[in-house]
């Protein structure tokens, strides 16, 4: 933070930070039981950092929730644990395997793990009685996200109704809920991928190593480079080669693609992101490729 400006102007990154902190404080004050959805990826790390700033020197006044799909990168889980430990927040883990075992979600063998995250998440919200869940969604990520409010209302079934969103004026957020409903709150709605990297660089905060260029054994599928892992058996004709890559997003290991890159420092990543011609999800997310409205449909059901 550049504290004083002779002309009292705040840089755009400082304005975004101030807006996010405002949202955190509003939601923490108004909702009985908020939780922060924390994947350990770069967006949720920035979100956690902003929460840390919003309440400092007090601890973050809510727990963090992770949906464990069993397919996360080990490096991401390690970083996540270090953040949780340093901040002294409570970590709630809702695992898909556990939800299947308990019969809460049904694994019919056809539905992807990615899709099973939604009922697992909704169940965790319901079981714990969370009334608000902070998410690290950004409006620049995808065209359905671009439409979503900062306070995004979910009905008793966890559904989003994109055609009937509440008006949201100024910075006056309406947190009214009925029994069984909850709110998704998106404090970094207005950040772009580049803002996230600028901020990570400025704050000097830890992110998982998979975001930096590294050597990895990968294979090609559906035009994406996927990592070699026993969790994702090779199909016929797929060949593993070692390449220098990095990840632009961190999701499910079996669906998230990496990009060939030699960017091994934050400034190099910023340079690469600024010059990128493909969106981060377009380049790397198998889950968005099925149809034009894949994200909208998943979000309606209650996805992150």
């Amino acid at each position: 933070m550049t504290a004083t400006h002779a002309d009292y102007r705040l840089s755009q990154l400082d304005q975004l930070e101030a807006e996010s902190i405002h949202i955190f404080r509003e939601a923490a004050a108004e909702f009985e039981k908020p939780v922060l959805m924390f994947s350990g990826g770069k967006d949720s790390i920035v979100m956690l950092r902003l929460a840390e700033k919003a309440f400092f020197p007090a601890k973050i006044p809510f727990p963090v929730l992770q949906i464990d799909n069993g397919l996360d990168f080990p490096e991401v889980a390690e970083t996540r644990d270090r953040w949780v430990q340093r901040l002294g927040v409570r970590l709630v883990i809702a695992s898909i395997d556990d939800a299947i075992e308990r019969g809460i979600v049904v694994d019919d063998g056809k539905t992807s793990r990615n899709r099973l995250q939604t009922p697992t998440l909704l169940n965790a919200i319901e079981e714990n009685g969370f009334t608000a869940a902070f998410g690290g969604g950004r409006r620049d990520e995808e065209k359905a996200r671009a439409k979503e409010r900062v306070y995004s209302h979910r009905d008793e079934f966890g559904q989003w109704d994109p055609k009937n969103q509440r008006p949201e004026l100024w910075s006056l957020y309406n947190g009214r809920l009925h029994e069984g409903e909850h709110m998704r709150v998106f404090p970094i709605s207005n950040w772009t991928e580049l803002d996230i990297w600028d901020y990570i660089g400025r704050e000097g905060i830890e992110i998982p190593s998979v975001y930096f260029a590294h050597k990895r054994r990968v294979f090609e599928r559906d035009g994406m480079l996927l990592t070699e892992t026993p969790l994702n058996p090779l199909r016929e004709g797929e060949v593993v080669t070692e390449r220098t890559v990095r990840y632009r997003t961190c999701g499910d290991m079996t669906l998230t693609g990496c990009v060939e890159s030699t960017a091994s420092t934050i400034p190099e990543i910023i340079e690469e992101v600024a010059a990128a011609r493909v969106t981060e999800r377009g380049a790397t997310r198998g889950d968005d490729r099925f149809s034009e409205a894949a994200m909208e449909d998943r979000k309606k059901e209650g996805y992150f």
Binding site: M1, A18, A58, R139
Partner: protein, 416 residues
Amino acid sequence: MAMDLLRFATAGSVDDGKSTLIGRLLFDSKSIFTDQLESVEKTSQDKGHGYVDLSLLTDGLRSEREQGITIDVAYRYFATPNRKFIIADTPGHVQYTRNMVTGASTADLGLVLVDARHGLTEQSRRHAVLLSLLRVPHLVLCINKMDLVDYSEEVYKKISAEFTAFATKLNIPDLEVIPISALQGDNVVQRSENMTWYSGPTLIHHLEHVHVASDRDLVDVRLPVQYVIRPKSDDHHDYRGYAGQVAGGVLKPGDEVMVLPSGMTSKIAGIDLFDKEIPEAFPPMSVTVRLEDDVDVSRGDMISRVKNAPEPSQDIDAMICWMTTAPLRPRQKLAIKHTSNSARALVKDIQYRLDVNSLHRDLETKELGLNEIGRVQLRTTKPLLCDPYSKNRTTGSFILIDEATGVTVGAGMIND
């Protein structure tokens, strides 16, 4: 070099080309990614268009693509070397006026589009009125589809004169009129070769250079308290900080301040931004203020200066934009949210309804229907710490919430 930020919103009737313009702006400023463009090209083909429909870049919902109209605001982002832009592309359809208001409420600049063939419509007037009520300080009238009127200077002059005449009756401090073709790109990013008679700026040039920093109030200190920070840990045993986003003025350690509504005074002991003490705080910083005395301060209170404080009042006189089908009527009770404060409000009177075409004040109709605007008197259950909206967009605004459904049904701007 620190980049600054401009938030702008589109406005105007349905089909006047708002989404196409935003698509064009993003496309010509090279802010579109190849996968986004491919998807738009494919959908355009599937729909049988003979051209790439750039409005599909912002019309992101399934029903919007099916109906070919915008239903809800889309937020898009792009940057030029000195400025980042947050765009709210809003719907023109009357039914979705509430979503236009959502997008415009935070804008520094409004882009009103008019179809050159049709000139001003009731909806373009309604949107201009809303932008002026919302005190969006800068306005650009884009006369669009100039390609369909042979790039005629006469058409430009006529609509420009018509709008300027209408605008003089509104509060619009800064107006620019630009003839464009969103479809062909004339005067959006590239200067038009078809309108050599036009010597003003291109749209992008204007957006890059319009001066917005001075729109902030740096005089009247207003800090609505959102959250009281009390760590109760060994390291910070006695820490007690009042957290909020500065809504006006400049705060410095040592300043004498008054806490409202109690009226108690104290001095600022320190201002914290995360783990650093800072020498001053100004809008729109989110900070934590510590006071020298142990006064009672809680969420909903306001920190201001002793001789310059907002008036605590239970009687509110405001312009209200009504956003639901069931009309607003006298005696109705609603929940009200103003800064970090919540209360209940009773509608005492609906003084008049504003006719958005003629700007005539209709004193007869004692109710406000969907998308109507009027002057309303409210009585609240407790004092709110109000400023006129003309002085402060944060402390002068509120929302009304239906207590049964929980839906936001009204937007209010407090009168002088």
